[in-house]
Amino acid sequence: MSDTAITLPPAGGPPQASAISEAVIRIAGNSQDGIQAIGGFLARLAGRSEQEVMTFMTIPSTISGGPSIFQVRIGSGEVLSSGDDADVLLAFYQHSYDGHIGSLKKRGIVLYDTDHVQPNQELLGEYSHVGIAISSLTIEAIGGTGRDKGKNIFSLGLLAKMYDLNVPKLEKLIGERFSGKDTTILNNALTAFHAGYNHSLGNVVETFKFMESAGKGASQVVMNGNEAIAYGVIAAGVRFGAAYPITPWSDVMEILRRELPKYGGSFIQCEDEIASVSMALGASYAGRVAVTGSSGPGISLKAEALGWGVMAEVPLVVINVQRGGPSTGLPTQVEQSDLNLAIYGSHGDCPRVVLAPAHVEDCFYTTIEAVNIARRYNVPVMILSDQAIATRIEAFEMPPLEKICQDITPDLTPVEDYKPYALGTPDGTVTRVVPGTRILSGRYPIAGGLEHDEYGHPSASPKLHTQMTAKRRLKLQSLAVTLPVPEVYGAAEGDVLLVGWGSTQGPIKEAVDRARAAGENTSAINIKYINPLPPGLEEIFSRFKHVLVVEINDEGLYGFGQLASLLRSRFCDPKIRGITKTDGLTFKVKEITERVKAAVASATCKA
């Protein structure tokens, strides 16, 4: 709820419905409670109601159980982040209550399960406490011992009542979710939902009603970042992939394994990460651009083969769903610490393209773009997603699939002659001729990792290595000049420019909105093209007094964060500094605004 919309319930009066423009709901429980399902229902409902939605979740890296949260922010207007503080906390256990009550706004509402939670007496005055015997009421409603099963749907009913949500739409969503299963399961779910919905919240708490959404008119689709990447792969025309399971990448490969056969394609689970990248390169070499992906440790393992793709000029798309590192690190938490690995990983001068999608919709379109850059420039392209974007759910406009789905089947028409590594083309590229193509000159290409002549045959000639190194570099330079200048969010010039990449875009934009509302002259850009960098950055930087790069990695290690280091080395501009953190969590808006103030103050002191 925005601060302007919140209305305190009149003491002792009947519950009243306040109009709100947005709400942040945090659900805290254990990972097996199905709290992601509640969040998922809320997110899908928002999507179908033309509202904006963004979610945030944490999951333990245990096999089963462990504390988990799901936060969903629904808004009638633009939703840029999953929200700093919650309006409502739904706490299933004592640890959920104790651990997350602090994330509530002042006078926020905590709904807690009286079967498991003993509220803190000292906090009774600070937050609206609503105790409901969620566990026993669920068992009363649907019977059975079923441990804690169903209480998530019961709680969804409570929230539906509280926010006056559209019941028929929710029933439909529940029906879709449990379709194909035993009808008693669906009936139980609906019974639990209605039990929650009809449970009296008493007059302790007000209810809310979302204001009419600005209305996008178009139908929306609701998914998380990993889904968006997987379907982007399919839309781009990729029909082969290979990978090895690793969190948080795995669900991309699960989706592709399940979906690609519908399109005549295959996704292969390999024995290891190296086999995966090698198999994908083999398929790419043989025709259509193929895809592999992983997270942190798996990407490290793929580095050598990636270098082969650069040397042999074979296109490939590598998806890196970043997690906390180094080594096994934080498998289920977010970090943006693979930027250096993405750009520099693999030995030698090894130019490849690196793109970072900023939100879920961007994951879909960036993946298509990555495939097309790989094809156009015969180069490996890495997509730097992260755990936060992978697991968060957003609603976005239904893509015009007829228009964007592409067929990238290779052309096997015989050619006269083919030099795979022809020197002297304007942008360093040639159109690939793949196996199965007859070459009438009788000279056939070899794709190899050795430095080579124009036909691909080995050569250690000093001149050729110089020329071929320049050729590989030229491809990236040619791509760079075609890239759009990043759009400045906020005024085109001012005091502070926040620079972000990837999933931090939302909170950064919201920080800009807050700063500008407070009269501060702050703007932001998001750098999607990490390598090569887009044109125009130096000029944009020149219009601001401070350039602060916001990223989730350790600037203490390098002096600056990973992107900030890159920008400083590229532009030699001492006003580029960083705002970084390494707590495994996404940036909150207020973290950014506070750190900006501190950074500006420290620079002013020094001056």
């Binding site: 056969p261 399109y263 090698s278 083999g282 050598e304 699939l401 089947t409 199965g436 193509t437 070459i439």
Partner: protein, 309 residues
């Protein structure tokens, strides 16, 4: 394919009618002069590959030659056809990507013992177990040649190399046992010193629908001279063919043959007709595509997205 509206699937292309194209000659199919040392056993394997292509009327657009790293892995550069020289140990994974996405091509992989059984050991096991359709010829010389005489995974105990100056201490891998136990569906053994036999094995491998593995002894005259003399009648050794009564479908019998001391027997040790991964994936796809018959790719995706509203 059952679903012509979908992305076109590259399928087996019908062979041209006889007489339109003459079989490739050695001159047309040979490329760079091999960089191998004079007397290297690998020359024989290359010559017999050419011979097989010529005899079986394979065309450059129907085959792909893939290798990893090592002396023998220079192979694709010497063949005038589509080919790839991949990274050390991963040739099989790369070739699997070609094989699984291009049913119209026959993929031949050449490599050495280090590439196959040391750095690439994991891929050997899994490519064999998945029965991916391709032919893998390992030119086994019992030594690392390209890096100039270090111990290889097949070096016999006591072999003196630069990394075991006192003689190899690690027990060697038995490639034939390894292949059989991993589930390879065609396992054969030959030696460079018997060209006709090499050709026979290559042709049998070509005809096999599945993962076909040939261990071909290939002497390194520079760093392991005389290693295989005991198998070469011209050097006073014995070349024993697999006994005529050997049942190639009998895994235990094959394992027994593989356990014999050097020089052992030569020929096909094991052969089975289990379905390939290529065929299994095609079956999965046929089932999945059946439900979307007549729909274009974007319409299939639209159906999925409609459920995500």
């Amino acid at each position: 394919m059952s679903n012509p509206a979908n992305t076109s699937v590259i399928e087996t292309v019908a062979a041209l009618p006889a007489g339109i194209r003459k079989p490739l000659t050695k001159k047309e199919i040979s490329s760079d002069h091999p960089t191998w040392c004079p007397g290297c056993g690998d020359f024989a394997v290359l010559a017999l590959y050419f011979k097989m292509i010529e005899r079986r009327q394979l065309w450059q657009e129907k085959i792909t030659t893939v290798s990893g790293i090592g002396c023998s892995s220079r192979f694709p550069y010497f063949v005038q056809a589509h080919g790839a020289h991949f990274i050390h140990g991963r040739a099989l994974s790369f070739a699997s990507g070609v094989s699984l996405s291009r049913p119209d091509l026959h993929v031949f992989v050449f490599g050495g013992d280090g590439d196959a059984f040391s750095i690439g050991g994991n891929h050997f096991t899994h490519t064999a177990r998945k029965n991916i359709k391709l032919t893998y010829v390992v030119m086994d010389n019992w030594v690392y040649g390209l890096t100039k005489k270090q111990t290889s995974p097949t070096s016999p105990l006591g072999f003196k190399s630069k990394t075991d100056i006192w003689g190899a201490v690690d027990y060697p891998i038995n490639p034939m046992k390894q292949a059989i136990s991993a589930g390879a569906s065609f396992v054969a053994r030959t030696t460079h010193s018997n060209p006709n036999h090499v050709l026979q094995m290559m042709e049998a491998a070509l005809d096999h629908d599945g993962f076909s593995f040939i261990e071909c002894l290939s002497e390194c005259v520079e760093f392991y001279d005389g290693a295989f003399d005991a198998s070469n009648p011209r050097k006073g050794g014995k070349f024993n063919l697999v006994p005529a009564d050997h049942d190639v479908t009998d895994e235990q019998a094959a394992y027994k043959l593989a356990s014999e001391p050097f020089p052992g027997h030569f020929g096909i040790f094991y052969k089975s007709t289990k379905p390939t991964k290529n065929a299994k994936e095609a079956t999965v796809n046929a089932g999945a595509m059946e439900k979307f018959k007549g729909l274009k790719d974007w319409q299939i995706l639209q159906k999925t997205f409609d459920r995500m509203k």
